[in-house]
């Protein structure tokens, strides 16, 4: 029984902590009141069977109604194709941002605007893949200035189709999706310290470019399959990726993985890790080893060290070829011009993470119990001196492992991914061990006798993938919180069927020992990575300025003012300029003939907080979300005759049910 753990002494300790918290809030004036509240808190803790640590954790995470969380966490949603926004420390799910999958609550994938984003019909698109209705979001990246989150934009990749999305943190809506014209599957997504580029690194090699067929045999694989590093140029003023000024670097058909940009002394460089440098392609039915075995044969893979400033210079000098509309630096040029170097890394690693000052690069060994730490100064020295220990099959110079490494820290089984705190500590997820290891970095973060030591370990439930510390992948980590993103919840939640939620656990990292605070099940998505930003850095809009187009974030030419609503017919098109307000649409009758194209522009003329309206049309598969001030357009063909009610799907007011109208389609 949990109760038995609560001895009287511990209860007093817990109560003392609680009472201190209450007193700190200025609610206690006199001792008898404090005593009464303390005993009340004790009663609650006891009746709920909470240990003192658990009661303390509850107090540390509870955010009362009407109060705000300290920070927001942007987490990918995996195969849900979306982004999830959590409050920290409450771990409450505050928003889902629709990105790669249609999402009817937000009207995403139904309005003309969101359909244009989802289908990537922007004129820049050169290799659109039609008909996609889902994505696999993995690595969210908040835009940065000087290596620190600026809270303006969020980028997220779709692993399944090699796409990159741009989300505005003014309205938390997806503004752009670009399709990688040459790559099929990606994994890494990260931004340069000033958000000049968003890097998308591929995962599974395919024929280069992906639009061509090359038979899958070892020889063809080695010669014509390729990985790609895509540097998407971000135009801040437009808030869009500028494909014309983006470029790619062709890479060997190893399976590249995650990536991190250098900062400080390593600014201008980017690091991408890889596995399957064995170039295994499987063939289980032909009695060849499965990919997982073939790809894990070697003890070392290659950390890719890329000089992106030099690559940029090559692009400017015209040393590129245009493939499917994007400029590509060939593997040969990259290898020969000091753009691409390899450093051996053990073994089938996952995370590659740059320390806050940009001086160390940490590799999670995955199949090796060590975190391998490279010294940027040493790597730089080897490159400057032109010292390589050989070349790989594609002519890429390989640097000496032992000369580049600063330390190897034995953490435990399955080290995957590392974030940092503000005190020079690193936190690495241990997948196989289901734990988080806290360990110390070397100089200048710690003195020589304190350096490179595991100082704490905390079990998590279970199978932790990535972790996210508070600003933990920036130049300015804030410590305090860390979230373990666990893949399996196993026995943590009960009575919900076989598809188990993911388990996100909030950990207090402010003290010398890590403390488990809270667990949040995620039953609608699979977060892979997340970034945590202080709430104060975000400047989100409460409502749209009246008549705003959600894509341009500027006045929509089809916005209408009340009293100016109208219906115009030209040829086979019926065009409607409609307003929505509590609790009516104007007009509430639309008449079309069968086969007419119907275009409806709806302006929500409200400016009150939360006065959102929906717009659903029976049988036409239409639902819009019209937040205050927003204009949406929906275009459809009235191909079925009949009378079709339209109504507000968002419970907007006392007369919400009365907020309706009729579309007549004459046979």
């Amino acid at each position: 029984m949990l109760h038995t753990r609560m001895t009287k002494r511990y209860l007093f300790k817990a109560a003392g902590t609680a009472a201190l918290g209450v007193a700190g809030a200025g609610m206690v004036a006199r001792r008898p009141v404090a005593d009464a509240q303390t005993s009340d808190l004790l009663t609650v803790a006891k009746s709920r069977g909470l240990s003192p640590d658990e009661a303390r954790a509850a107090l540390a995470t509870y955010v009362p109604p009407g109060k705000y969380d300290e920070a927001l966490m942007f987490a990918s949603g995996g195969q849900s194709g979306q982004v999830l926004v959590f409050g920290i420390p409450s771990m409450r799910l505050l928003r889902v941002i629709a990105v790669f999958s249609p999402e009817s609550w937000q009207g995403y994938g139904y309005s003309d605007e969101s359909r244009s984003v989802l289908r990537d019909t922007s004129p820049e698109s050169v290799a659109d893949i039609p008909g996609l209705t889902w994505g696999d979001t993995h690595h969210p990246a908040i835009s940065q200035m000087n290596g620190d989150y600026d809270g303006e934009w969020l980028f997220i990749n779709d692993k399944a189709n090699a796409r990159m999305a741009v989300i505005s943190l003014k309205d938390f809506e997806t503004k752009q999706i670009v399709q990688n014209p040459t790559a099929a599957i990606d994994h890494g997504a990260t931004v340069s310290p000033n958000t000049d580029y968003v890097l998308e690194s591929t995962q599974y090699a395919v024929p280069f470019p992906r639009t061509k067929y090359v038979p899958l045999d070892q020889e063809h694989y080695n010669n014509e399959y390729r990985g790609v590093a895509t540097f998407w140029k971000f135009d801040r003023t437009r808030g869009r990726i500028d494909q014309a000024h983006s470029f790619q670097i062709e890479l060997p058909p190893y399976w590249q993985d995650l990536a991190s940009f250098g900062k400080g002394p390593s600014e201008g460089w980017v690091f991408i890790n890889s596995f399957n440098t064995e170039r295994a392609i499987g063939g289980t039915l032909e009695h060849k080893p499965p990919i997982e075995i073939g790809a894990s044969a070697n003890d070392m893979d290659y950390l890719h060290v890329i000089n992106w400033k030099k690559a940029e210079a090559l692009v400017a000098a015209g040393k590129t070829t245009v493939v499917n509309g994007i400029k590509v630096i060939s593997l040969k040029d990259a290898a020969e011009n000091g753009v691409l170097y390899f450093v051996p890394e053990p073994k089938s690693p996952h995370g590659v993470d740059v320390a806050p000052r940009g001086d160390y690069i940490v590799i999670g060994g995955k199949l090796d119990p060590n975190a391998t730490v490279y010294s940027w100064a040493k790597v730089r020295q080897l490159i400057n001196a032109g010292k390589s220990v050989g070349k790989d099959a594609y002519g890429v110079p390989i640097l000496s492992f032992k000369d580049a490494v600063a330390a190897q820290v034995k953490l435990g089984l399955g080290p995957l991914h590392t974030n940092f705190d503000d005190k020079g500590n690193a936190y690495t997820s241990l997948f196989i061990e289901s734990a988080v290891a806290k360990w110390t970095l070397g100089a200048p973060y710690h003195s020589a006798d304190e350096a490179w030591k595991v100082v704490d370990k905390l079990p998590v439930q279970y199978n932790i993938g990535h972790l996210a510390a508070y600003q933990g992948d920036t130049a300015k980590p804030m410590g305090k919180y860390l979230v373990a993103i666990n893949k399996w919840s196993v026995d943590q939640y009960k009575g919900i069927g076989p598809l188990r939620p993911q388990n996100l656990q909030l950990i207090d990292i402010s003290g010398p020992k890590m403390r488990m605070l809270y667990a949040a099940p995620v039953g609608n998505a699979e977060p892979h990575f997340a970034e945590i930003i202080p709430l104060g850095k975000l400047r989100a809009w409460d409502v749209y300025p009246p008549g705003t187009n959600e894509l341009t974030m500027r006045p929509d030419p089809n916005a209408v003012q009340p009293g100016k609503e109208r219906i115009a017919r030209h040829g086979k098109t019926v065009e409607v300029w409609m307003t929505a307000m509590r609790s009516h649409y104007t007009p509430d009758h639309i008449v079309a003939n069968k086969g007419d194209k119907v275009v409806i522009h709806i302006t929500n003329i409200e400016q009150a907080l939360d006065a959102t309206h929906g717009f659903a049309v029976h049988a036409y598969n239409i639902n819009l979300s019209l937040e205050p001030g927003k204009v949406e357009t929906i275009t459809f063909t009235a191909d079925r005759p009949g009378v079709f009610p339209y109504y507000c799907t968002e419970f907007c007011s006392a007369l919400h049910l009365e907020m309706a109208g009729y579309l007549e389609v004459k046979p």
């Binding site: 509590r582 003329i605 409200e606 400016q607 009150a608 006392a654 007369l655 009365e658």
Partner: protein, 234 residues
């Protein structure tokens, strides 16, 4: 033409003869003081155009910050759209349709009232009160008109409205209750500026009339002041 009374005054020896403590000369200073006060009153009245005369706050659970509508001499400001939005449920007319004549005439009326104060300096003994009256009555007229429109709006609710409410008059000052809304109404800075202008105008009128009573030319002036300039008075 305006200099004419001064010239007339020069021909008159009487003011100098009566100068002395409590005599005409001190009354003359009152006249100048009155002119200054009238000028200040005119400025305050014009300044009041920039500020709300009256503000009503409305509080309901779903509006934690509350709603506020401020009535200026020329328009209504604040959360007018949202209040109109709510009012349409009970059939109340849009706020922008209230007091059209008053709002159109507001700036003109204030300007005329202020100008009238500046003219007092040149007016004979029968006129100052008449010229000051618009300013003195200004806040009262505003309040009376606002009360009228509040009552009229609350008593002409559209019978076709979705929610039927008994006719009511929103509270002019202090706390009230309209459906789920707690209301708190108060006069605003514009009103207080206009009220201050009225007080100054009363004060100035008293000073001015006192001067006139002491003036030797009081029987000869009626519309136009015949008193000499201050410089010649000493």
């Amino acid at each position: 033409m305006l200099a004419a009374p001064a010239r007339n005054g020069e021909k008159t020896p009487a003011p100098r003869a009566r100068a002395g403590r409590g005599g005409w000369a001190s009354r003359w200073r009152d006249r100048e003081r009155a002119t200054g006060l009238f000028g200040a009153a005119a400025a305050l009245l014009l300044l009041s155009l920039l500020w709300p005369y009256w503000t009503i706050h409305l509080y309901a659970p779903q509006y934690p910050q509350g709603l506020a509508v401020s009535v200026y001499l020329t328009h209504a400001g604040g959360d007018v759209a949202e209040v109109d939005e709510l009012n349409h449920y009970i059939g109340m007319a849009p706020l922008a349709e209230a007091a059209p004549v008053e709002r159109a005439a507001g700036v003109f009326a204030a300007a005329v009232a202020a100008l009238a104060l500046l003219v007092v300096r040149f007016s004979g003994r029968r006129v100052p009160l008449v010229l000051a009256a618009p300013t003195i009555l200004f806040p009262l007229i505003f309040t009376a008109d606002l009360s009228y429109w509040l009552a009229r709006y609350g008593h002409s609710l559209s019978p076709a409205a979705p929610i039927h409410m008994d006719a009511f008059t929103p509270v002019l000052l202090g706390q009230g209750m309209i459906a789920q809304f707690r209301t708190a109404a108060a006069l605003g800075p514009g009103f207080y500026l206009a009220a201050a202008a009225a007080v100054l105008a009363i004060w100035a009128t008293v000073l001015r009339l006192r001067t006139c009573r002491a003036c030797v030319l009081r029987d000869r002036c009626s519309i136009v002041c015949l008193a000499p300039r201050a410089s010649s008075a000493r």
